[in-house]
Amino acid sequence: MKLNADIVIIGSGAAGGVLAATLAKKTDKKILLLEKGGFYEGATIVQEELGARHLFADRGTRGTKDGSIAVRGGECVGGGTTVNVALCFNPVESVWEKWKSEYGINQFSFDSTANDYGISGLNMPNSLQHVRERINIHEPPDDMVNDNNRLFSEGCQAEGVSFKKFELNMKNCIGCGFCTVGCKYDRKMSTMITYIADAIQNGVEVIHNFDVEKIIFSGKNDNQKATGIQGKILDADEKSLPNKYPSGTVTISAGLIIVAAGAVESPSLLFRSKHPNPNDTLGRGLIIHPSLPIIGIQEQELVNYRGITGSMYSDHFYESHGFYYECLFGHPIYAAGMVPGFGLPHFDMILKYPQINGFGVMLVDTPVKKNRVVWNAYAQKPEIIYRLTEEDKKRLRIAAEKGVEIMFGSGASEVLLPSEESIGPLNRPHFKQKSEAKYCNDLTFRPHQTQITSAHCQATVSMGEDHEMGILNSRCESKYVKNLMVCDSSSFPSSCGANPMVSIMTMARYQGKRVAGELARYGL
């Protein structure tokens, strides 16, 4: 089957949905939005951990190549915004300023009166404002803060650590506690029910279960141009909305291709398409925001799996040590996976589930070239190669130690880390008193022994005007292939400094508006 479009957007997550809606509203161009996963409306959501696997990349089993770090990623219409816990952080201005000075990024003005690229009102504050309004970013009311989050704030208070309420993109949340398997009640303002709904209303065609095999380039050497994509439509499962088109091979001709498939799939697609990679920087510099859960056992019973999952956090150590504490909680399978050991002691601990509270460290990791995404052509799979640097391990040890203290400060009688490492005199990081927190200094974070998780892959197809890592210019355009953009978390030169959803959406809004103002640049 052959299709034509003016603009093809690959990926319908935080970036793709916003790009599609913005371009549809501001242009009269024919736009196709392609998504690898299915299109699952809220009513199809099943509130079970195993029942939600179809919403995730690799059916929820994606991880680093050695299997040691679970790397969570949404693979459905809405992408990560469908399955995240709605935590919103404005773009961190200091990070963008650093990118400007270190990576030569230009424009992206943080002055709300700026007209970047000569386009009226194009700047970051205006883009952010649009996103904030459309996805309804706000602080949750006090009565929606559940026990888990309350205990976290009490622990912080006891330890002299500042804490805040998250901002969330929800509307009239009823507190079911199942954000991570998709919102059954359409109360989470994912792109699926906001920007993508807008895009569809303005004529964008969404083709889901679309596996893009490669981007088609014409021309050679310095004169390459993206002219379309090749892929196939797969059968949608019974939970998904049906596709308009039949399953089979598809070629789409387009004037502009925008890749927005996330920091794992975007570089993989460029590798598959044989995108130029003269400095061997494609896929490199991967950021994952490694996360380490901290588990407490309280004396009293709590109901932590209901209410808003995450409503409190601490950025107390962000400036000094580059990490956050974020309050979250898990359902039974996750909890069973995080509690160390097996057999009787493990089950005895699980029986304390109603007394368990938890939060996690989220480390803003350092970009290094050896951490990367590569495409395994033989296995036809992306491979994520990642190790914590020694510097990052040091910061994570500090975060673990202070986190254990905060957990004791919250009233916990015991504190655990999801680890089988022996530290100091302890067989495992199972602390019975606060003074034992110092043994966190012995943690090696050995793969498969201490459980690190991730959900924030970034920086694998970096912007950078003159920087060696730069695959893209500041317009998120490929430096090597005309009419090809990559606009998602992979475009960040390093960590965006916080949970990335709103930074991605703001950048996408900004770039969507820019493209609409510069259509002639792409011959559209």
Partner: protein, 219 residues
């Protein structure tokens, strides 16, 4: 921020197992049963009892508060979510069989060493000499662990036939190995078994988890 998908990876588990099952072990292991294992697809009658033993170890069915879930329930869930009978799961089947051979823990299994060397190269960019030093250190560490295990429990050949205390310490040994692939087996086996038991509503009842949300709860 934190994964809610449980910390196991079938794909990586399978990959690990593939490596364990590589026939390059053969020349170094003059054990006919091992050669037989590597050249013949395990029959369910061969690997299921080992998996069943592991299920019995990971889950305390004799605990007074353990719900009315049996190893068969867990096996059935594994068949639904991680079907072992598929042809592509042969490496997975073999892994259990290899895990069962307790004495292999102390052996220099080239496939495991090669995999560890590959990880050092790919993940940490180490050169050959550094890798060799690391691997020798790892072998020494694992042999020390194994000797301690044997001092405590005596000689055992088969995991599934060993007493439960020895089984537990042997399984734990895999979590303490310096070799990535063994720790991966520990995590993955624990993860799959937990996932296929803690998905049961009977389990939720005993752990005080109400499960599905009923909007009437808010009224």
């Amino acid at each position: 921020m934190l994964s809610d998908s449980g910390h196991f990876s079938r794909r990586n588990f399978l990959k690990a197992i593939t490596i364990l099952g590589l026939s390059s072990c053969t020349p170094f292991l003059p054990k006919t049963r091992f050669i037989h294992l590597l050249t013949n697809d395990p029959h369910p009658d061969h690997y299921n009892p080992i998996l069943r033993s592991l299920i019995n170890l990971v889950l305390p069915f004799d605990h007074v508060r353990f719900p009315a879930i049996t190893p068969d329930t867990v096996l059935k869930n594994i068949e639904i979510h991680f079907p072992l009978t598929e042809e592509r799961q042969e490496p997975f089947q073999r892994a259990f069989v290899l895990f069962n051979d307790i004495q292999l823990f102390k052996e220099r299994l080239p496939a495991i060493l090669d995999e560890e060397a590959k990880l050092f190269r790919e993940f940490e960019g180490l050169g050959k000499n550094d890798i060799n030093l690391k691997i020798e250190e790892f072998m020494q560490h694992d042999r020390t662990l194994f000797n301690e295990f044997e001092q405590k429990h005596g000689h055992h050949g088969s995991f599934k036939d060993a007493p439960k205390a020895a089984q537990a310490d042997y399984f734990y040994l895999w979590s303490q190995s310096r070799f990535n692939i063994r720790r991966m087996f520990f995590n993955s086996a624990k993860g799959v078994i937990n996932a296929c038991s803690y998905c049961q509503e009977e389990m939720w009842d005993v752990m005080g988890y109400a499960g599905y949300f009923d909007p009437k709860e808010n009224q």
